[in-house]
Amino acid sequence: MTEPVLEARRLVKHYGHVLALDEADFSAMPGEVVALIGDNGAGKSTLVKTLVGAIRPDSGEILVDGTPVQLASPVDARRHGIEAVYQDLALAPDLDAAANLHLGRELYLVPFLKVLDRRTMRRRAIEAFADLGIELPDVGAPVGTLSGGQRQSVAVARAVSYASRIIFMDEPTAALGVVQRGRVLDTIRRVRDRGVSVVLVSHNMPEVLAVADRIEVLRMGRRVAVFTASQTTVDELVGAMTGALELSNGSKGGAA
Protein backbone atom coordinates (compact mmCIF):
# COMPACT_ATOMS: atom_id res chain seq x y z
CA MET A 1 0.00 0.00 0.00
CA THR A 2 1.28 3.46 -0.84
CA GLU A 3 2.07 5.82 1.97
CA PRO A 4 -0.32 8.72 2.66
CA VAL A 5 1.06 12.07 1.54
CA LEU A 6 -0.41 13.57 4.69
CA GLU A 7 -1.65 11.72 7.70
CA ALA A 8 -3.03 12.69 11.10
CA ARG A 9 -2.99 10.22 13.98
CA ARG A 10 -5.06 10.57 17.11
CA LEU A 11 -5.18 14.37 17.07
CA VAL A 12 -6.69 15.91 20.19
CA LYS A 13 -7.65 19.54 20.54
CA HIS A 14 -9.48 21.15 23.45
CA TYR A 15 -10.99 24.60 23.44
CA GLY A 16 -11.53 25.12 27.14
CA HIS A 17 -13.97 22.35 28.10
CA VAL A 18 -14.98 21.69 24.55
CA LEU A 19 -13.31 18.75 22.92
CA ALA A 20 -13.03 19.70 19.26
CA LEU A 21 -10.87 16.80 18.16
CA ASP A 22 -11.14 13.51 20.01
CA GLU A 23 -8.29 11.38 18.71
CA ALA A 24 -9.14 12.24 15.14
CA ASP A 25 -7.42 10.43 12.29
CA PHE A 26 -7.12 11.56 8.73
CA SER A 27 -5.21 10.51 5.69
CA ALA A 28 -4.77 11.71 2.13
CA MET A 29 -3.15 9.52 -0.49
CA PRO A 30 -0.95 10.90 -3.25
CA GLY A 31 -2.81 12.30 -6.24
CA GLU A 32 -6.33 11.83 -4.92
CA VAL A 33 -9.22 14.06 -4.08
CA VAL A 34 -10.39 13.26 -0.59
CA ALA A 35 -13.50 14.88 0.77
CA LEU A 36 -13.74 15.70 4.44
CA ILE A 37 -17.34 15.84 5.53
CA GLY A 38 -19.16 16.14 8.79
CA ASP A 39 -22.00 17.99 10.45
CA ASN A 40 -21.52 21.47 11.88
CA GLY A 41 -19.29 21.21 14.93
CA ALA A 42 -17.92 17.82 13.92
CA GLY A 43 -14.41 19.23 14.02
CA LYS A 44 -13.72 19.71 10.31
CA SER A 45 -12.42 23.26 10.62
CA THR A 46 -10.31 22.40 13.64
CA LEU A 47 -8.82 19.41 11.86
CA VAL A 48 -8.06 21.42 8.76
CA LYS A 49 -6.52 24.21 10.83
CA THR A 50 -4.18 21.79 12.56
CA LEU A 51 -3.15 20.30 9.23
CA VAL A 52 -2.34 23.67 7.64
CA GLY A 53 -0.43 24.85 10.68
CA ALA A 54 -2.93 27.47 11.80
CA ILE A 55 -3.42 25.86 15.22
CA ARG A 56 -1.42 23.26 17.12
CA PRO A 57 -3.05 20.10 18.42
CA ASP A 58 -2.82 19.24 22.12
CA SER A 59 -1.57 15.81 21.22
CA GLY A 60 -1.30 13.43 18.31
CA GLU A 61 0.93 13.16 15.30
CA ILE A 62 1.02 14.70 11.85
CA LEU A 63 3.02 12.86 9.21
CA VAL A 64 4.12 14.08 5.82
CA ASP A 65 5.10 11.21 3.52
CA GLY A 66 5.32 9.02 6.60
CA THR A 67 7.63 11.32 8.54
CA PRO A 68 6.35 13.05 11.69
CA VAL A 69 6.44 16.85 11.38
CA GLN A 70 5.69 19.87 13.57
CA LEU A 71 3.51 22.45 11.88
CA ALA A 72 3.96 25.55 14.00
CA SER A 73 2.58 28.02 11.46
CA PRO A 74 1.05 28.18 7.98
CA VAL A 75 4.52 29.09 6.74
CA ASP A 76 5.80 25.83 8.22
CA ALA A 77 3.06 23.88 6.50
CA ARG A 78 3.83 25.62 3.25
CA ARG A 79 7.43 24.50 3.48
CA HIS A 80 6.09 20.96 3.36
CA GLY A 81 4.14 21.72 0.22
CA ILE A 82 0.82 22.09 2.04
CA GLU A 83 -1.38 24.97 0.86
CA ALA A 84 -4.88 26.08 1.72
CA VAL A 85 -7.67 27.98 0.05
CA TYR A 86 -9.57 29.57 2.90
CA GLN A 87 -13.27 30.12 2.82
CA ASP A 88 -12.72 33.88 3.03
CA LEU A 89 -10.05 33.47 0.30
CA ALA A 90 -7.53 35.60 2.22
CA LEU A 91 -6.93 37.99 -0.67
CA ALA A 92 -5.92 41.64 -0.47
CA PRO A 93 -8.74 43.34 -2.42
CA ASP A 94 -6.72 46.43 -3.29
CA LEU A 95 -3.87 44.48 -4.85
CA ASP A 96 -4.05 42.97 -8.30
CA ALA A 97 -4.14 39.27 -9.09
CA ALA A 98 -0.41 39.05 -9.72
CA ALA A 99 0.37 40.73 -6.41
CA ASN A 100 -2.02 38.44 -4.57
CA LEU A 101 -0.59 35.37 -6.23
CA HIS A 102 2.85 36.32 -4.93
CA LEU A 103 1.73 37.70 -1.58
CA GLY A 104 4.46 36.95 0.94
CA ARG A 105 6.53 35.35 -1.82
CA GLU A 106 7.45 38.37 -3.87
CA LEU A 107 10.14 38.16 -6.49
CA TYR A 108 12.78 40.83 -6.43
CA LEU A 109 14.71 42.51 -9.21
CA VAL A 110 17.24 43.92 -6.78
CA PRO A 111 17.05 41.70 -3.71
CA PHE A 112 19.25 44.01 -1.67
CA LEU A 113 16.87 46.94 -2.10
CA LYS A 114 13.78 44.73 -2.26
CA VAL A 115 12.82 46.18 -5.61
CA LEU A 116 9.90 44.14 -6.87
CA ASP A 117 10.19 42.26 -10.14
CA ARG A 118 6.70 43.11 -11.23
CA ARG A 119 7.16 42.04 -14.82
CA THR A 120 8.14 38.49 -13.92
CA MET A 121 5.45 38.22 -11.24
CA ARG A 122 2.88 39.36 -13.75
CA ARG A 123 4.09 36.89 -16.35
CA ARG A 124 4.05 34.04 -13.86
CA ALA A 125 0.56 34.99 -12.77
CA ILE A 126 -0.67 34.90 -16.34
CA GLU A 127 0.95 31.50 -16.80
CA ALA A 128 -0.51 30.18 -13.55
CA PHE A 129 -4.01 31.22 -14.55
CA ALA A 130 -3.58 29.83 -18.05
CA ASP A 131 -2.41 26.50 -16.58
CA LEU A 132 -5.68 26.16 -14.72
CA GLY A 133 -7.74 27.38 -17.64
CA ILE A 134 -8.76 30.43 -15.67
CA GLU A 135 -9.60 33.50 -17.66
CA LEU A 136 -9.18 36.84 -15.98
CA PRO A 137 -10.08 39.90 -18.02
CA ASP A 138 -7.19 41.83 -16.51
CA VAL A 139 -4.54 40.49 -14.15
CA GLY A 140 -3.65 44.10 -13.36
CA ALA A 141 -7.04 44.94 -11.86
CA PRO A 142 -7.43 45.00 -8.07
CA VAL A 143 -9.02 41.68 -7.08
CA GLY A 144 -11.68 43.61 -5.18
CA THR A 145 -13.13 44.60 -8.54
CA LEU A 146 -13.38 40.98 -9.74
CA SER A 147 -16.43 38.76 -9.48
CA GLY A 148 -16.74 36.17 -6.72
CA GLY A 149 -15.80 33.37 -9.07
CA GLN A 150 -12.77 35.21 -10.38
CA ARG A 151 -11.59 35.96 -6.87
CA GLN A 152 -12.01 32.31 -6.02
CA SER A 153 -9.89 31.47 -9.06
CA VAL A 154 -7.13 33.76 -7.89
CA ALA A 155 -7.06 32.12 -4.46
CA VAL A 156 -7.06 28.64 -6.00
CA ALA A 157 -4.35 29.54 -8.49
CA ARG A 158 -2.22 30.87 -5.68
CA ALA A 159 -2.52 27.66 -3.69
CA VAL A 160 -1.95 25.51 -6.76
CA SER A 161 1.14 27.46 -7.77
CA TYR A 162 2.93 26.61 -4.57
CA ALA A 163 1.44 23.35 -3.37
CA SER A 164 3.75 20.47 -4.13
CA ARG A 165 1.91 17.89 -2.01
CA ILE A 166 -1.59 18.82 -1.00
CA ILE A 167 -4.17 21.58 -1.09
CA PHE A 168 -6.96 22.11 1.42
CA MET A 169 -10.08 23.75 0.07
CA ASP A 170 -12.61 24.87 2.65
CA GLU A 171 -16.08 25.08 1.10
CA PRO A 172 -14.65 26.39 -2.17
CA THR A 173 -18.00 26.48 -3.92
CA ALA A 174 -20.19 27.78 -1.12
CA ALA A 175 -20.47 31.31 -2.48
CA LEU A 176 -20.58 30.47 -6.16
CA GLY A 177 -23.18 30.11 -8.86
CA VAL A 178 -23.82 26.90 -10.78
CA VAL A 179 -21.45 27.58 -13.68
CA GLN A 180 -18.67 28.72 -11.41
CA ARG A 181 -19.12 25.66 -9.20
CA GLY A 182 -18.53 23.50 -12.22
CA ARG A 183 -15.36 25.40 -13.00
CA VAL A 184 -14.01 24.99 -9.50
CA LEU A 185 -14.69 21.27 -9.61
CA ASP A 186 -12.89 21.08 -12.95
CA THR A 187 -9.98 22.91 -11.40
CA ILE A 188 -9.89 20.44 -8.52
CA ARG A 189 -9.69 17.54 -10.99
CA ARG A 190 -7.01 19.32 -12.95
CA VAL A 191 -4.93 19.86 -9.84
CA ARG A 192 -5.26 16.20 -8.92
CA ASP A 193 -4.21 15.19 -12.42
CA ARG A 194 -1.01 17.13 -11.84
CA GLY A 195 -0.27 14.80 -8.95
CA VAL A 196 -1.22 17.15 -6.10
CA SER A 197 -3.70 15.81 -3.59
CA VAL A 198 -6.77 17.85 -2.79
CA VAL A 199 -8.74 17.86 0.45
CA LEU A 200 -12.22 19.15 -0.17
CA VAL A 201 -14.23 20.30 2.80
CA SER A 202 -17.84 20.55 1.73
CA HIS A 203 -21.45 20.28 2.80
CA ASN A 204 -22.63 19.56 -0.68
CA MET A 205 -23.00 15.78 -0.95
CA PRO A 206 -23.67 15.49 -4.69
CA GLU A 207 -20.65 17.66 -5.29
CA VAL A 208 -18.51 15.53 -3.01
CA LEU A 209 -19.62 12.37 -4.82
CA ALA A 210 -18.94 13.99 -8.18
CA VAL A 211 -15.38 15.01 -7.56
CA ALA A 212 -13.91 13.02 -4.67
CA ASP A 213 -12.10 9.71 -4.93
CA ARG A 214 -12.47 8.99 -1.27
CA ILE A 215 -14.54 10.44 1.54
CA GLU A 216 -13.65 10.64 5.21
CA VAL A 217 -16.45 11.38 7.65
CA LEU A 218 -15.91 13.24 10.89
CA ARG A 219 -18.36 13.14 13.76
CA MET A 220 -17.88 14.54 17.25
CA GLY A 221 -14.19 15.04 16.73
CA ARG A 222 -13.45 11.57 15.38
CA ARG A 223 -13.15 9.93 12.00
CA VAL A 224 -16.16 7.62 11.98
CA ALA A 225 -16.12 6.36 8.43
CA VAL A 226 -14.15 6.18 5.21
CA PHE A 227 -15.88 5.61 1.89
CA THR A 228 -14.83 5.06 -1.68
CA ALA A 229 -16.82 7.61 -3.61
CA SER A 230 -17.78 5.25 -6.41
CA GLN A 231 -19.25 2.78 -3.95
CA THR A 232 -21.41 4.94 -1.75
CA THR A 233 -24.51 7.07 -1.79
CA VAL A 234 -25.69 10.36 -0.39
CA ASP A 235 -27.89 8.50 2.08
CA GLU A 236 -24.97 6.52 3.36
CA LEU A 237 -22.85 9.64 3.77
CA VAL A 238 -25.58 11.49 5.61
CA GLY A 239 -26.15 8.45 7.81
CA ALA A 240 -22.49 8.38 8.77
CA MET A 241 -22.41 12.11 9.42
CA THR A 242 -25.43 12.10 11.69
CA GLY A 243 -24.70 8.83 13.39
CA ALA A 244 -27.89 7.24 12.11
CA LEU A 245 -25.73 4.69 10.39
CA GLU A 246 -23.69 2.82 12.96
CA LEU A 247 -20.31 1.77 11.67
CA SER A 248 -18.07 -0.59 13.44
CA ASN A 249 -14.49 0.24 14.16
CA GLY A 250 -14.43 3.67 12.58
CA SER A 251 -13.79 2.47 9.08
CA LYS A 252 -15.63 1.06 6.19
CA GLY A 253 -14.30 0.20 2.81
CA GLY A 254 -10.76 1.02 3.84
CA ALA A 255 -8.51 3.57 2.19
CA ALA A 256 -8.93 2.08 -1.22
Binding site: L89, A90, A92, D94, L95, G104, Y108, T145
Partner: protein, 362 residues
Protein backbone atom coordinates in the same frame (compact mmCIF):
# COMPACT_ATOMS: atom_id res chain seq x y z
CA UNK B 1 -10.17 51.47 -9.19
CA UNK B 2 -6.91 52.79 -7.85
CA UNK B 3 -4.41 50.08 -8.31
CA UNK B 4 -1.37 50.92 -6.26
CA UNK B 5 0.91 49.38 -8.83
CA UNK B 6 -0.31 51.44 -11.69
CA UNK B 7 -1.33 54.60 -9.99
CA UNK B 8 1.20 55.06 -7.27
CA UNK B 9 3.58 57.43 -8.91
CA UNK B 10 6.21 59.66 -7.52
CA UNK B 11 6.26 63.39 -7.21
CA UNK B 12 9.15 63.59 -9.61
CA UNK B 13 7.41 61.72 -12.33
CA UNK B 14 3.72 62.44 -12.23
CA UNK B 15 3.42 61.29 -15.79
CA UNK B 16 4.91 57.99 -14.71
CA UNK B 17 2.01 57.53 -12.35
CA UNK B 18 -0.19 55.61 -14.66
CA UNK B 19 1.57 54.43 -17.82
CA UNK B 20 4.37 52.70 -15.93
CA UNK B 21 2.91 49.29 -16.61
CA UNK B 22 5.15 47.49 -19.05
CA UNK B 23 3.56 45.81 -22.00
CA UNK B 24 3.08 42.14 -21.31
CA UNK B 25 5.25 40.22 -23.67
CA UNK B 26 3.50 37.40 -25.45
CA UNK B 27 0.51 37.45 -23.14
CA UNK B 28 -2.14 38.51 -25.59
CA UNK B 29 -0.61 40.38 -28.50
CA UNK B 30 -3.95 41.14 -30.06
CA UNK B 31 -5.15 42.81 -26.91
CA UNK B 32 -3.56 46.22 -27.29
CA UNK B 33 -6.80 48.02 -27.94
CA UNK B 34 -8.38 46.46 -24.90
CA UNK B 35 -5.45 47.36 -22.73
CA UNK B 36 -5.49 50.92 -24.06
CA UNK B 37 -9.11 51.13 -23.09
CA UNK B 38 -8.33 49.67 -19.70
CA UNK B 39 -5.56 52.16 -19.29
CA UNK B 40 -7.89 55.02 -20.13
CA UNK B 41 -10.36 53.54 -17.70
CA UNK B 42 -7.75 53.48 -14.99
CA UNK B 43 -6.70 57.06 -15.56
CA UNK B 44 -10.35 57.99 -15.36
CA UNK B 45 -10.85 55.94 -12.23
CA UNK B 46 -7.66 57.10 -10.54
CA UNK B 47 -8.50 59.52 -7.78
CA UNK B 48 -5.25 61.35 -8.53
CA UNK B 49 -6.70 62.48 -11.83
CA UNK B 50 -9.50 64.35 -10.10
CA UNK B 51 -7.27 65.68 -7.37
CA UNK B 52 -4.91 67.08 -9.97
CA UNK B 53 -7.86 68.64 -11.74
CA UNK B 54 -9.00 70.25 -8.48
CA UNK B 55 -5.52 71.66 -7.98
CA UNK B 56 -5.48 73.16 -11.46
CA UNK B 57 -8.89 74.71 -10.91
CA UNK B 58 -7.76 76.26 -7.62
CA UNK B 59 -4.60 77.69 -9.18
CA UNK B 60 -6.56 79.16 -12.09
CA UNK B 61 -9.19 80.55 -9.74
CA UNK B 62 -6.71 82.36 -7.52
CA UNK B 63 -4.65 83.53 -10.48
CA UNK B 64 -7.72 85.17 -11.94
CA UNK B 65 -8.90 86.57 -8.60
CA UNK B 66 -5.50 88.07 -7.76
CA UNK B 67 -3.82 88.78 -11.07
CA UNK B 68 -0.07 89.19 -10.91
CA UNK B 69 0.02 88.29 -7.22
CA UNK B 70 -0.70 84.62 -6.97
CA UNK B 71 0.71 82.95 -10.02
CA UNK B 72 4.34 83.88 -9.55
CA UNK B 73 7.37 81.71 -9.21
CA UNK B 74 8.32 83.51 -6.03
CA UNK B 75 5.02 82.73 -4.45
CA UNK B 76 5.23 79.05 -5.33
CA UNK B 77 8.74 78.90 -3.92
CA UNK B 78 7.50 80.41 -0.66
CA UNK B 79 4.60 77.99 -0.48
CA UNK B 80 6.99 75.12 -1.08
CA UNK B 81 9.26 76.26 1.72
CA UNK B 82 6.41 76.86 4.14
CA UNK B 83 4.95 73.46 3.39
CA UNK B 84 8.26 71.56 3.47
CA UNK B 85 7.98 70.15 7.01
CA UNK B 86 4.34 69.30 6.41
CA UNK B 87 5.22 67.51 3.18
CA UNK B 88 7.75 65.33 4.97
CA UNK B 89 5.24 64.51 7.72
CA UNK B 90 2.55 63.77 5.13
CA UNK B 91 4.90 61.30 3.46
CA UNK B 92 5.13 59.32 6.70
CA UNK B 93 1.41 59.71 7.27
CA UNK B 94 0.77 58.21 3.83
CA UNK B 95 2.45 54.94 4.81
CA UNK B 96 0.57 54.83 8.09
CA UNK B 97 -2.82 55.54 6.54
CA UNK B 98 -2.28 52.93 3.82
CA UNK B 99 -1.86 50.32 6.58
CA UNK B 100 -5.33 51.42 7.76
CA UNK B 101 -3.74 53.24 10.70
CA UNK B 102 -3.42 56.86 11.64
CA UNK B 103 -0.65 58.91 13.23
CA UNK B 104 -1.84 61.91 15.23
CA UNK B 105 1.55 62.40 16.86
CA UNK B 106 3.48 63.74 13.86
CA UNK B 107 3.35 67.43 14.85
CA UNK B 108 4.40 66.61 18.39
CA UNK B 109 7.28 64.46 17.19
CA UNK B 110 8.35 67.35 14.96
CA UNK B 111 8.50 69.55 18.05
CA UNK B 112 10.15 66.91 20.22
CA UNK B 113 12.84 66.19 17.63
CA UNK B 114 13.60 69.89 17.22
CA UNK B 115 13.81 70.32 20.99
CA UNK B 116 16.12 67.33 21.48
CA UNK B 117 18.35 68.33 18.57
CA UNK B 118 18.58 71.93 19.68
CA UNK B 119 19.13 70.98 23.32
CA UNK B 120 22.31 69.20 22.27
CA UNK B 121 23.41 72.10 20.08
CA UNK B 122 22.81 74.66 22.84
CA UNK B 123 25.14 72.72 25.12
CA UNK B 124 27.77 72.31 22.41
CA UNK B 125 28.38 75.75 20.99
CA UNK B 126 24.89 77.23 20.68
CA UNK B 127 24.40 79.63 17.79
CA UNK B 128 27.96 79.19 16.59
CA UNK B 129 27.90 75.39 16.72
CA UNK B 130 29.68 73.63 13.86
CA UNK B 131 28.37 71.01 11.45
CA UNK B 132 29.62 68.15 13.64
CA UNK B 133 27.50 69.33 16.53
CA UNK B 134 24.52 69.95 14.25
CA UNK B 135 24.88 66.45 12.84
CA UNK B 136 25.04 64.80 16.27
CA UNK B 137 22.13 66.89 17.52
CA UNK B 138 20.08 66.00 14.46
CA UNK B 139 20.83 62.31 14.81
CA UNK B 140 19.79 62.42 18.47
CA UNK B 141 16.58 64.20 17.51
CA UNK B 142 15.82 61.80 14.67
CA UNK B 143 16.55 58.83 16.92
CA UNK B 144 14.07 60.22 19.45
CA UNK B 145 11.38 60.62 16.81
CA UNK B 146 12.05 57.16 15.38
CA UNK B 147 12.08 55.48 18.78
CA UNK B 148 8.86 57.22 19.78
CA UNK B 149 7.24 56.15 16.51
CA UNK B 150 8.45 52.57 16.97
CA UNK B 151 6.98 52.58 20.48
CA UNK B 152 3.63 53.67 19.07
CA UNK B 153 3.91 50.98 16.43
CA UNK B 154 4.59 48.40 19.09
CA UNK B 155 1.48 49.41 21.01
CA UNK B 156 -0.60 49.29 17.83
CA UNK B 157 0.78 46.00 16.51
CA UNK B 158 1.46 43.99 19.64
CA UNK B 159 -0.78 45.46 22.32
CA UNK B 160 -3.60 45.95 19.78
CA UNK B 161 -4.47 49.40 21.10
CA UNK B 162 -6.25 51.31 18.31
CA UNK B 163 -3.84 53.64 16.49
CA UNK B 164 -6.14 56.60 17.07
CA UNK B 165 -5.73 56.22 20.83
CA UNK B 166 -2.04 55.32 20.79
CA UNK B 167 -1.03 58.29 18.67
CA UNK B 168 -3.44 60.68 20.39
CA UNK B 169 -1.74 59.77 23.65
CA UNK B 170 1.62 60.12 21.90
CA UNK B 171 0.56 63.48 20.52
CA UNK B 172 -0.21 64.81 23.98
CA UNK B 173 2.65 63.13 25.80
CA UNK B 174 5.33 64.20 23.33
CA UNK B 175 4.02 67.62 22.32
CA UNK B 176 2.38 68.89 25.48
CA UNK B 177 4.39 66.83 27.93
CA UNK B 178 7.97 65.94 27.15
CA UNK B 179 8.67 68.95 24.91
CA UNK B 180 7.49 71.32 27.66
CA UNK B 181 9.42 69.44 30.33
CA UNK B 182 12.65 69.83 28.37
CA UNK B 183 12.17 73.46 27.39
CA UNK B 184 10.43 74.57 30.58
CA UNK B 185 7.64 75.90 28.40
CA UNK B 186 9.68 78.57 26.60
CA UNK B 187 10.95 78.03 23.08
CA UNK B 188 14.66 77.53 22.54
CA UNK B 189 15.68 80.44 20.36
CA UNK B 190 19.34 79.62 20.12
CA UNK B 191 19.68 77.59 16.97
CA UNK B 192 23.03 77.00 15.21
CA UNK B 193 23.48 79.75 12.61
CA UNK B 194 24.94 77.31 10.12
CA UNK B 195 21.78 75.21 10.21
CA UNK B 196 19.50 78.23 9.83
CA UNK B 197 21.51 79.88 7.07
CA UNK B 198 21.88 76.78 4.91
CA UNK B 199 18.94 74.42 5.43
CA UNK B 200 16.60 77.14 6.66
CA UNK B 201 17.35 80.03 4.34
CA UNK B 202 19.87 78.79 1.79
CA UNK B 203 19.49 77.37 -1.67
CA UNK B 204 21.28 74.88 -3.83
CA UNK B 205 21.39 75.59 -7.55
CA UNK B 206 18.78 78.26 -6.98
CA UNK B 207 16.32 75.94 -5.27
CA UNK B 208 15.75 76.42 -1.53
CA UNK B 209 17.17 73.57 0.56
CA UNK B 210 13.80 73.12 2.26
CA UNK B 211 12.21 72.29 -1.07
CA UNK B 212 15.10 70.11 -2.20
CA UNK B 213 15.06 68.03 0.98
CA UNK B 214 11.32 67.68 1.32
CA UNK B 215 10.87 66.65 -2.31
CA UNK B 216 13.84 64.29 -2.16
CA UNK B 217 12.19 62.59 0.82
CA UNK B 218 8.88 62.40 -1.01
CA UNK B 219 10.47 60.97 -4.16
CA UNK B 220 12.50 58.32 -2.37
CA UNK B 221 9.57 57.36 -0.16
CA UNK B 222 7.28 57.33 -3.20
CA UNK B 223 9.61 54.92 -4.99
CA UNK B 224 9.80 52.72 -1.89
CA UNK B 225 6.01 52.69 -1.61
CA UNK B 226 5.38 51.92 -5.27
CA UNK B 227 8.22 49.62 -6.21
CA UNK B 228 9.54 47.69 -3.22
CA UNK B 229 8.51 44.84 -1.01
CA UNK B 230 8.19 47.31 1.87
CA UNK B 231 5.58 49.25 -0.06
CA UNK B 232 3.82 46.09 -1.20
CA UNK B 233 3.49 44.85 2.39
CA UNK B 234 2.20 48.26 3.43
CA UNK B 235 -0.64 48.00 0.93
CA UNK B 236 -1.27 44.32 1.68
CA UNK B 237 -1.59 44.90 5.42
CA UNK B 238 -3.95 47.83 4.95
CA UNK B 239 -5.97 45.88 2.43
CA UNK B 240 -6.34 42.67 4.45
CA UNK B 241 -4.08 42.24 7.44
CA UNK B 242 -5.28 38.70 8.13
CA UNK B 243 -4.53 37.65 4.55
CA UNK B 244 -1.08 39.19 4.84
CA UNK B 245 -0.49 37.31 8.07
CA UNK B 246 -1.58 34.01 6.56
CA UNK B 247 0.65 34.68 3.56
CA UNK B 248 3.58 34.68 5.94
CA UNK B 249 4.12 38.44 6.08
CA UNK B 250 5.29 39.52 9.51
CA UNK B 251 2.52 42.03 9.97
CA UNK B 252 3.41 43.19 13.48
CA UNK B 253 7.01 43.84 12.57
CA UNK B 254 6.02 45.72 9.46
CA UNK B 255 3.55 47.91 11.36
CA UNK B 256 6.23 48.81 13.89
CA UNK B 257 8.53 49.78 11.01
CA UNK B 258 5.84 51.92 9.41
CA UNK B 259 5.12 53.86 12.61
CA UNK B 260 8.86 54.18 13.21
CA UNK B 261 9.24 55.56 9.69
CA UNK B 262 6.50 58.09 10.38
CA UNK B 263 8.34 59.09 13.57
CA UNK B 264 11.61 59.38 11.68
CA UNK B 265 10.04 61.56 9.00
CA UNK B 266 8.34 63.74 11.61
CA UNK B 267 11.87 64.09 12.99
CA UNK B 268 13.22 65.17 9.62
CA UNK B 269 10.39 67.69 9.51
CA UNK B 270 11.48 68.79 12.98
CA UNK B 271 15.01 69.57 11.80
CA UNK B 272 13.63 71.43 8.77
CA UNK B 273 11.29 73.40 10.98
CA UNK B 274 14.05 74.22 13.46
CA UNK B 275 16.23 75.48 10.62
CA UNK B 276 13.45 77.40 8.99
CA UNK B 277 12.00 79.15 12.07
CA UNK B 278 15.22 79.54 14.04
CA UNK B 279 13.19 78.34 17.02
CA UNK B 280 11.66 75.17 18.45
CA UNK B 281 8.10 76.49 17.88
CA UNK B 282 6.69 74.22 20.58
CA UNK B 283 3.23 75.74 20.46
CA UNK B 284 2.88 75.88 16.70
CA UNK B 285 2.15 72.32 15.60
CA UNK B 286 -1.04 71.23 17.26
CA UNK B 287 -2.85 70.87 13.95
CA UNK B 288 -0.06 69.47 11.81
CA UNK B 289 -1.57 66.02 12.24
CA UNK B 290 -4.91 67.10 10.78
CA UNK B 291 -3.18 68.92 7.94
CA UNK B 292 -1.09 65.87 7.11
CA UNK B 293 -4.13 63.61 7.23
CA UNK B 294 -6.02 66.07 5.03
CA UNK B 295 -3.23 65.99 2.45
CA UNK B 296 -3.14 62.18 2.41
CA UNK B 297 -6.92 61.83 2.26
CA UNK B 298 -7.22 64.47 -0.46
CA UNK B 299 -4.56 62.56 -2.35
CA UNK B 300 -6.88 59.62 -2.69
CA UNK B 301 -5.69 57.39 0.13
CA UNK B 302 -8.37 55.46 1.93
CA UNK B 303 -8.59 55.82 5.70
CA UNK B 304 -9.67 52.18 5.62
CA UNK B 305 -6.28 51.27 4.24
CA UNK B 306 -4.98 49.55 1.15
CA UNK B 307 -5.09 52.54 -1.14
CA UNK B 308 -3.14 55.72 -1.64
CA UNK B 309 -0.05 57.01 -3.36
CA UNK B 310 2.77 59.42 -2.72
CA UNK B 311 1.95 61.37 -5.86
CA UNK B 312 -1.58 61.76 -4.56
CA UNK B 313 -0.35 62.99 -1.21
CA UNK B 314 1.86 65.63 -2.85
CA UNK B 315 -1.10 66.86 -4.90
CA UNK B 316 -3.32 66.74 -1.83
CA UNK B 317 -0.89 68.85 0.13
CA UNK B 318 -0.55 71.24 -2.80
CA UNK B 319 -4.31 71.69 -2.81
CA UNK B 320 -4.58 72.62 0.84
CA UNK B 321 -1.49 74.83 0.62
CA UNK B 322 -2.73 76.67 -2.47
CA UNK B 323 -6.17 77.02 -0.91
CA UNK B 324 -4.84 78.62 2.28
CA UNK B 325 -2.33 80.81 0.48
CA UNK B 326 -4.94 81.85 -2.04
CA UNK B 327 -7.41 82.79 0.69
CA UNK B 328 -4.77 85.01 2.28
CA UNK B 329 -3.93 86.66 -1.02
CA UNK B 330 -7.52 87.44 -1.90
CA UNK B 331 -7.90 88.91 1.58
CA UNK B 332 -10.10 86.43 3.43
CA UNK B 333 -9.93 86.73 7.22
CA UNK B 334 -7.24 84.33 8.38
CA UNK B 335 -9.52 82.59 10.86
CA UNK B 336 -11.52 81.35 7.94
CA UNK B 337 -8.44 79.36 6.99
CA UNK B 338 -8.90 77.11 9.99
CA UNK B 339 -12.52 76.62 9.02
CA UNK B 340 -11.43 75.85 5.47
CA UNK B 341 -8.98 73.17 6.65
CA UNK B 342 -11.76 71.49 8.62
CA UNK B 343 -14.14 71.58 5.68
CA UNK B 344 -11.53 70.23 3.29
CA UNK B 345 -10.65 67.34 5.62
CA UNK B 346 -14.24 66.27 6.02
CA UNK B 347 -14.84 66.66 2.29
CA UNK B 348 -11.80 64.53 1.48
CA UNK B 349 -12.90 61.73 3.77
CA UNK B 350 -16.46 61.95 2.47
CA UNK B 351 -15.09 61.56 -1.06
CA UNK B 352 -13.25 58.45 0.05
CA UNK B 353 -16.45 56.95 1.48
CA UNK B 354 -18.27 57.87 -1.68
CA UNK B 355 -15.65 56.17 -3.84
CA UNK B 356 -15.79 53.07 -1.64
CA UNK B 357 -19.54 52.82 -2.01
CA UNK B 358 -19.28 53.11 -5.79
CA UNK B 359 -16.59 50.49 -5.81
CA UNK B 360 -18.53 48.07 -3.70
CA UNK B 361 -21.51 48.44 -5.95
CA UNK B 362 -19.36 47.71 -8.98
Amino acid sequence: MTDPQQVAGTPAAPEGAAPARPAVPSARPADTRGSARRFAGRVGAASETYTLLALVILVVFFSVKAPGKFFTLNDFSLMGQNAAPLLVMSVGETFVIITAGIDLAVGSLLVLTGVVADLYCIHHGGASAGWGTIAIGSVLGLATGTAWGAGQGFLVAKAKVPPLIVTLAGFIAAGEGVAYLITGGADFRTVPGKLVNTIGLGSVAGIPWLIVISFAVAIVAGLVLAYTGFGRYTYAIGSNAEAARRAGIRVDRHLIKVYALSGLLAGVAGILSLASFDSTTIAGHAFDNLEAITAVALGGASLFGGRGSMFGTVIGLAISTVLLEGLVIIGVNQYWQEVAIGIVLVAAVYLDQFRRRIRQRA
